[in-house]
């Protein structure tokens, strides 16, 4: 086993991981980024429409308005101390991103161009929609990620690409590092660090129709659960309203922000029924449910489960300049020129609002409330601070990664120097290695792909946009059976070098554990709020359910706990759009 040692170990090379790495490396720290893919393949690259900050470049705006919208968008489940801090720091963070080289689109006088996105208004929800989303055509993720990657190279961040982190090494004194499988050479390594940051992204690949990359299997969340630590608000999974049918590829909210309509089979803008005021620019949970309702009412196109996203009325020049990637995808995959024909779209699993509970310095919380796990940090989609509560506003995610990745980097840089390395827990390492070797040496009895596909189909069907008790219970039963089937997965005879199947088998273990956590949380929450909609409990229950869920895994069984929501300014109100 090959051993590495760096002051700061960052797991994941998306926006959160790279911002943190850059921030820590700039102050002279020895930083290593361990990622299961080459950094520019990280899923952040797929972000399209833009990143939110109340710069006010197009019309007056303020962080307080952004704050109100984020609170209301979160269906009052976000923690308002964190939300206020986020909206304030988003502004300086947007300028920071510009200063390091992000190729933002520009206004006529050379400032960062901003566009409309759902849920962003002026005057604390009372005014007109405000252009708050900073764009780089429809490629914000690529623009930010490549800029960060370049700057990290400049500041000599050490990259370990195609290393699959399999276990967090955790003892009483805190986290001492991670174990990771070198995918290319097929062998285990240990990474000893004074401090470890998990920036491992989301888990929307738990669902069979998803906007996410194949790598978004929730590894960091799964490892956290397996280490006996809690996850927060896992029942809240965002379904993006417009995935390209039938694949689910992301069609940015920026398309509706630029003036796109949603149409049913009668060419009606059906959003007027569901959100008479804000129409297509209502928050995502509302638009996704509206599309699902249209599909279930037989109003979808040609009896198939999709509706139309229509931009044929927009000028061709605008489509080419501001939505070039969308146009390319529609042409390449669906064979459709969006100037001439509407785009077929349906909701697709997109984002996990919940995750590893952290405080505003990104320190992981052992009880989910106050007790800090020494030397372990988390940021980005895998974490829950909680900005997004029950529903995330479009363009807040890339900014969350940047704001909190930066905070994590700074915090780690500040404390790394006064710490020593912890010894690695040899017993845990032996156990982890045994787990991998067991998979490699077992003869297959069950098909890895069949277990995974059954899980993903079940999650969409039983724990998707509309949920009810009987379906959730059926999903628990299914997961129980699939966990048994998982024991029959074997990889004997496959070369260790670039063993894709091994990566998939490790991911599937996390997916099974994580799905069960999500379903348990969803089953317990007997109300509807944001992205979590129970047809058997269709109303929001502020009296009993204005609280965060915490889930722990103990010897395969799950325990739930709850904690209050932090309210500093806005009391819950009825959420109308």
């Amino acid at each position: 086993m090959i051993k590495h040692r760096h002051q700061i170990i960052i797991v994941g090379a998306g926006i959160a991981g790279l911002v943190a790495a850059l921030e820590a490396a700039q102050t002279g720290n020895d930083v290593a980024v361990v990622s299961k893919v080459f950094p520019t393949h990280s899923h952040s690259v797929a972000a399209q429409g833009g990143t939110a900050a109340a710069l006010g470049n197009m019309e007056p705006d303020s962080w307080e308005w952004h704050f109100y919208d984020t609170v209301k968008g979160s269906h009052f489940l976000g923690d308002q101390d964190a939300q206020a801090l986020f909206c304030k720091e988003a502004i300086e963070t947007a300028y920071f991103l510009e200063h390091i080289g992000v190729p933002f689109s520009r206004t006529e006088d050379g400032r960062i161009l901003q566009r409309h996105f759902g849920g962003h208004y002026s005057e604390s929800g009372k005014g007109a929609p405000v252009r708050r989303t900073c764009l780089a055509a429809d490629r914000i993720g690529q623009a930010i990620l490549y800029t960060l990657f370049g700057q990290c190279l400049r500041f000599k961040v050490k990259f370990y690409s195609e290393f699959l982190v399999t276990h967090i090494l955790l003892q009483d004194e805190g986290c001492s590092g991670v174990m990771a499988w070198d995918i290319v050479h097929g062998e285990m390594h240990t990474f000893q660090g004074k401090l470890t940051l998990l920036a491992t992204g989301g888990c929307s690949r738990l669902f069979n129709i998803s906007t996410n990359s194949a790598i978004n299997t929730g590894d960091g969340m799964g490892m956290t659960l397996a280490a006996g630590l809690p996850l927060e608000d896992m029942e809240f999974i965002q379904f993006h309203p417009t995935g390209l049918y039938p694949w689910g590829f992301l069609i940015s909210e920026g398309v509706r922000g630029e003036g796109g309509y949603l149409l049913n089979q009668n060419a009606e803008r059906f959003m007027k029924v569901y959100a008479p005021d804000k129409l297509e620019l209502a928050p995502r949970d509302i638009v996704s449910r509206a599309i699902q309702r249209e599909i279930e009412a037989g109003q979808s196109i040609e009896g198939k489960p999709y509706v139309y996203l229509d931009i044929t009325h927009l000028p061709e020049q605008l489509i080419k300049e501001k939505l070039p990637q969308i146009r390319e995808m529609a042409l390449k995959f669906a064979g459709i020129d969006p100037k001439k024909q509407p785009i077929p779209v349906a909701p697709a699993a997109h984002y996990s609002m919940g995750g590893i509970p952290i405080n505003i310095d990104c320190e992981v919380l052992a009880d989910g409330k106050k007790v800090i796990v020494p030397r372990l940090f988390a940021a980005g989609e895998c974490a829950c601070v909680s900005i997004h509560g029950a529903n995330r506003l479009g363009s807040n995610s890339t900014m969350e990664c940047a704001v909190f990745g930066r905070r994590a980097g700074r915090r780690m840089a500040k404390i790394a120097k006064r710490l020593n390395f912890l010894p690695l827990p040899e017993g845990q390492i032996k156990e982890g290695l045994g787990e991998i070797n067991a998979l490699l040496n077992r003869s297959p009895k069950t098909s890895l792909a069949e277990v995974r596909e059954a899980l993903r189909e079940g999650m969409t069907k039983n724990c998707g946009i509309l949920r009810e008790e009987s379906c959730l219970r059926a999903q628990l039963e299914l997961i129980h059976n699939l966990k048994t089937a998982y024991q029959g997965i074997g990889l004997k005879g496959i070369p260790n070098e670039y063993n894709l199947a091994l990566q998939e088998a490790v991911e599937l273990k996390h997916m099974l554990n994580l799905s069960k956590a999500i379903v348990q949380c969803a089953l317990a929450r007997k109300e509807s709020r944001g992205a979590h909609y129970r047809t058997d409990f269709p109303t929001t229950d502020e009296k009993d359910w204005l609280r965060h869920t915490l889930v722990f895994m103990k010897e395969g069984e799950y325990e739930l706990d709850y904690k209050p929501v932090v309210i500093t300014k806005f009391e819950p109100e009825e959420r109308r759009f």
Partner: protein, 219 residues
């Protein structure tokens, strides 16, 4: 696989493809049956740049090439010009090293303003056709000059160099030009156009190379 097999060989798979499938779907279908088959894939819709392979003689993204647009017999090879790790996975280290060599980051020495640095739309437009490069390696893997000399910077790195040199905010233009003058790259390109043909994003690395030459010679 190098080191395990005496020489490279073709493996034939017969499968029924659906109308919507791209090559990546076909690979995934094969992988379900034959877990040992290996390839790179991440986003699945043409933005991450991980799945470039050679399909019937052309370098392209497996996730974008529709099976329906190809004949019934499809030959999929790893990207040419790179050493093979296993099956369709190649070692792209040369591309990444070249990208690193051209300093792929904005360099500024003046203190930034409190707000954004201003950049007019006309200045920003100079980055279009350059910043969209996804480092997939399809162009470099199609370049005969690179095949002959792995030290040649190659189109992936050069288009990136052009993106930075053209950025109105960058304050290290002379330093960049010096780097380009001394590295094997700019002057070794023989204008073969393979890179232009290979780019899955419709970019033109050759145009970038010409722009760089012009910047160094004229400006």
């Amino acid at each position: 696989m190098p080191g395990r097999d005496k020489r490279p060989y073709w493996q034939k798979y017969v499968l029924k493809c659906e109308a919507t499938w791209v090559i990546l779907d076909a690979l995934e279908a094969i992988h379900k049956q034959d877990l040992s088959l290996t390839y790179r894939r991440t986003c699945g819709h043409g933005i991450c740049g991980s799945c470039a392979v050679n399909i019937n003689g052309r370098n392209q993204l497996a996730c974008e090439k529709r099976v329906a647009d190809l004949p019934h017999r499809i030959k999929i090879k790893p990207l040419p010009g790179f050493s093979i790790i296993r099956d369709l996975v190649v070692d792209l280290t040369p591309v990444y090293e070249h990208v690193e060599a051209i300093k792929p980051y904005l360099i500024t020495t003046t203190k930034p303003p409190e707000r954004e640095r201003l950049q007019l739309p006309s200045e920003r437009k100079k980055l279009d056709g350059l910043y969209e490069c996804i480092f997939c390696g399809a162009c470099t893997g199609a370049c005969p000059t690179f095949w002959a000399n792995q030290g040649f910077l190659g189109p992936t790195a050069l288009i990136q160099a052009c993106r930075l040199l053209m950025d109105s905010r960058d304050e290290a233009k002379e330093e960049r030009k010096e780097t380009l003058k001394t590295q094997p790259g700019l002057w070794q390109c023989r204008s073969i156009f393979n890179c232009v043909e290979a780019c899955p994003k419709g970019l033109n690395p050759l145009k970038a190379i010409v722009a760089l030459r012009k910047a160094i010679l004229v400006d």
